[in-house]
């Protein structure tokens, strides 16, 4: 045996689904993030335009990206835990 994990892991049948979920969520976030970068690079004046509550786009988009990361993280954890519980249930009975 070459490399073992630091601790013993049980069998996990939900791996393919979790992986796909991770990739999808990553792509969603990447698109939103790149949107910000593209606006900054190509239409920088737009970042100064005021929107909701009198805040400019830079503030809304920037804060939004931070909040989105946290929210998506929580959603991801919820969905993954559900997948694990559902698909690994046979192991526990």
């Amino acid at each position: 045996m070459l490399h073992e994990p630091a601790v013993e892991l049980g069998k996990d049948k939900s791996i393919p689904q979790k992986t796909r979920l991770g990739v999808v969520m990553f792509l969603i976030y990447m698109v939103v993030y790149m949107g910000f970068v593209v606006i900054g690079t190509m239409f920088p004046e737009a970042l100064g335009v005021k929107f909701i509550g009198g805040q400019n786009l830079a503030f809304l988009y920037g804060m939004g990206l931070i909040v989105l990361a946290i929210v998506m993280g929580l959603i991801y954890n919820f969905l993954c835990t559900r997948l694990e519980d559902k698909l690994n249930k046979e192991e526990q009975s």
Binding site: H3, E4, P5, Y29, V37, L47, I66, I70, G73, Y76
Partner: protein, 638 residues
């Protein structure tokens, strides 16, 4: 730059350091196995690990660097907050769990799990070392910059102190104690930053940030043929005049003290505006506002010139909510300071003069990364390159990756990452208010942007200042510990044990790890002293770019592309690492360090990310396609 040495600060400092060392020795007795040393026995609870992640990640660059950059340049500093956090998204969604499934102790183990390749062991270990050392340098520089004014000691002493304490911690206890150090530090940092932000919002925006705040003096001037002859205050005598980049500066003297002033409104009502100066005289002295450092004349700055709320001008706003604070800032005017350097009569002059900036420019990017006014295709590409490096760099930092091995399960790895993202994200939201708060409350030291956040705390009292400074110091302790553990793992475990195949017992492996820790610590100390003058954020951005170019293609492709081969990985690491390093060495910033004109640098971008990262990926794909997939050795098949 010139601070009163606070005995309160020193007491709190020492208390902190002793607590950290105490914890370290306590856990040292529990560390017997290599598993315990490197991966803390895999038994750390996910919530603790999550905050420890945050404590590890929120290094000097985040707390001191970002706040400092926002304080001086507004939103452009906040770009780092956004980019750094987005990097965690990559880590969580793509890397965390798969990586946990693969490896044992280190990043090199993870990459090599399927291949058993000597090339991978070697290149991954070297990459870990290179990135860790580049990340260590700004921490040590930050430590020196922080400790020096606080304790009144020279820079190298501060660096040595941090180095010695950390080596002691790591060599005696390894991962367990660093996890708890980072957990405590992470928690304290967030709590006390929140306290400062609440105080900032409660104070609101005032034209006069404090009773003893010094606003630049303005004197009416009389000119003859474009040269200043006399000024309204007759105790000043005019000594000379100099033009630089279309600006005119005038040297005056009063009661034996020299000062430099900026000439405004030449054509209408000429006046001289006071500036701050750092002068290196012909006989080797350095004068701050005309006097030696000890006189403490280099006052702090940063105030609002005009406050506009809902279309009305006011003198102060009273307590504000966070959204109102930013909005009001956006419709007001702030006095920032611009730096100009020139030589006059054999002296090197650095002048900081007031520069009224519209609030609307401060709350959007553009004051540092030129996107709108004064932009070129290269400055825009630089912005793009930076955002790319930050986004991709986090998940490729070895000292972050190693922390995935300290939790007992995949689910715990995932949960701890989410705790980390929430804590870090919340902290980064706070940085916007810490930075802008520092900008308007007269707490900027123009010689050191890194001190902006602690100095802001000082405006609310010495106690808060001492606590925050001690936390900042602990910040650096924690990050440096994590980096040294990752590096010592690379040397002792990846190089000695796996690559060179030196036979060692468990006990000897731990000992090797500890000796390696001491070695890396000493190198870090030496480099921290060497790079004293460098900007902390710049060096960290460098580490991110190298990590994203060298490590990330290998990790991502290994996890998601079946045709990845061992040679593909090792070549990708080498090409990514070398490309990013060479491009940085040829960049404008390094050219300035070499003493050559920045404009002559062959590489026009300050951040190599947009070139070296795709190159890393390309190398991996091309080499993998060209080499046959190496099967693992027969011994693996069961």
């Amino acid at each position: 730059m010139i601070y009163q040495i606070s005995s309160m600060a020193i007491i709190i400092f020492i208390f902190f350091v002793l607590t950290v060392l105490g914890l370290s020795f306590f856990f040292a007795r529990k560390t017997k196995s290599a598993s315990g040393y490197y991966a803390a026995g895999g038994q750390i609870h996910w919530a603790v690990n999550g905050i420890a992640f945050a404590g590890d990640y929120l290094s000097a660059a985040s707390f001191l660097g970002i706040c400092g950059m926002i304080a001086f340049f507004g939103y452009d500093g906040f770009l780092y907050s956004i980019g750094y956090l987005a990097g965690w998204v990559v880590a969580l969604f793509l890397v965390a769990e798969p990586l946990k499934r693969l490896g044992k102790y280190t990043f090199a183990d993870a990459l090599d799990a399927k291949f058993d390749s000597r090339a991978i062991k070697l290149t991954a270990a070297i990459s870990t070392l290179v990135v860790s050392i580049f990340y260590l340098i700004p921490q040590m520089v930050g430590a020196g910059a922080l400790v020096t004014p606080l304790l009144g000691l020279p820079h190298w002493v501060g660096v040595m102190m941090v180095g010695a304490v950390v080596i002691l911690i790591v060599a005696t206890a390894g991962m367990t104690s660093t996890t708890y150090v980072q957990f405590i530090k992470g928690g304290l940092l967030i709590v006390f930053s929140l306290i400062v932000v609440i105080l900032v919002l409660n104070k609101g925006i005032k034209l006069n940030p404090s009773a003893d705040y010094h606003k630049p003096i303005v004197l009416a001037a009389t000119l003859a043929e474009g040269r200043v002859q006399v000024v309204a205050d007759s105790s000043y005598q005019v000594l000379g005049q100099h033009e630089e980049s279309g600006l005119t500066f005038v040297k005056m003297t009063k009661a034996g003290i020299d000062s430099w002033w900026k000439l405004n409104n030449i054509s209408s009502t000429p006046e001289l505006e006071e500036t701050l100066t750092v002068v290196e005289t012909g006989d080797g002295r350095t004068l701050y506002n005309g006097e030696p450092k000890e006189a403490g004349k280099f006052y702090q700055v940063g105030h609002v010139n005009k406050i506009v709320v809902n279309g009305r001008e006011v003198e102060e706003t009273g307590p504000l909510g966070p959204f109102k604070f930013i909005k009001t800032l956006g419709t007001s005017e702030v006095v920032r300071f611009t730096k100009k350097a020139f030589t006059f009569a054999g002296e090197k002059i650095t002048v900081y003069f007031p520069n009224i900036t519209a609030g609307s420019d401060i709350i959007k990017p553009g004051l540092y990364y030129k996107l709108d006014k004064g932009a070129s295709i290269w400055s825009r590409l630089d912005f793009l390159s930076l955002m790319l490096a930050l986004f991709l760099g986090t998940s490729a930092l070895p000292h972050i990756l190693i922390r995935y091995y300290t939790v007992p399960s995949q689910r715990a790895a995932r949960k701890s990452t989410i705790v980390a993202i929430s804590a870090i994200g919340f902290f980064y939201i706070l940085t916007l208010f810490l930075g802008t708060g520092a900008m308007i409350n007269g707490s900027l030291d123009l010689g050191s942007s890194n001190m902006s956040a602690p100095l802001l705390a000082k405006t609310f009292g010495i106690t808060l200042f001492s606590i925050i400074s001690a936390i900042a110091f602990a910040t650096i302790l924690g990050t440096v510990s994590g980096l040294i553990v990752a590096s010592s793992g690379a040397v002792a475990h990846d190089l000695m044990d796996k690559y060179m195949k030196i036979k060692m017992t468990e006990k000897q492996k731990v000992k090797a790890g500890r000796i390696a820790a001491v070695g890396v610590g000493i190198v870090a100390i030496m480099l921290g002293i060497l790079f004293e003058k460098q900007n902390v954020s710049f060096l960290v951005g460098l580490a991110f770019a190298i990590a994203a170019s060298a490590n990330l293609p290998a990790i991502l492709m290994l996890l998601f592309w079946k045709r990845t081969t061992a040679k593909g990985i090792s070549w990708a690491i080498v090409v990514g690492m070398l490309t990013s390093l060479v491009l940085i060495l040829l960049s404008p910033t390094l050219y300035e360090i070499y003493g050559l004109p920045a404009a002559s640098a062959p590489m026009p971008l300050k951040n190599p990310g947009i070139i070296s990262i795709p190159l890393g990926f390309l190398t991996l794909v091309v080499v993998s396609l060209l080499t046959k997939k190496r099967e693992a050795s027969p011994a693996l098949e069961k």
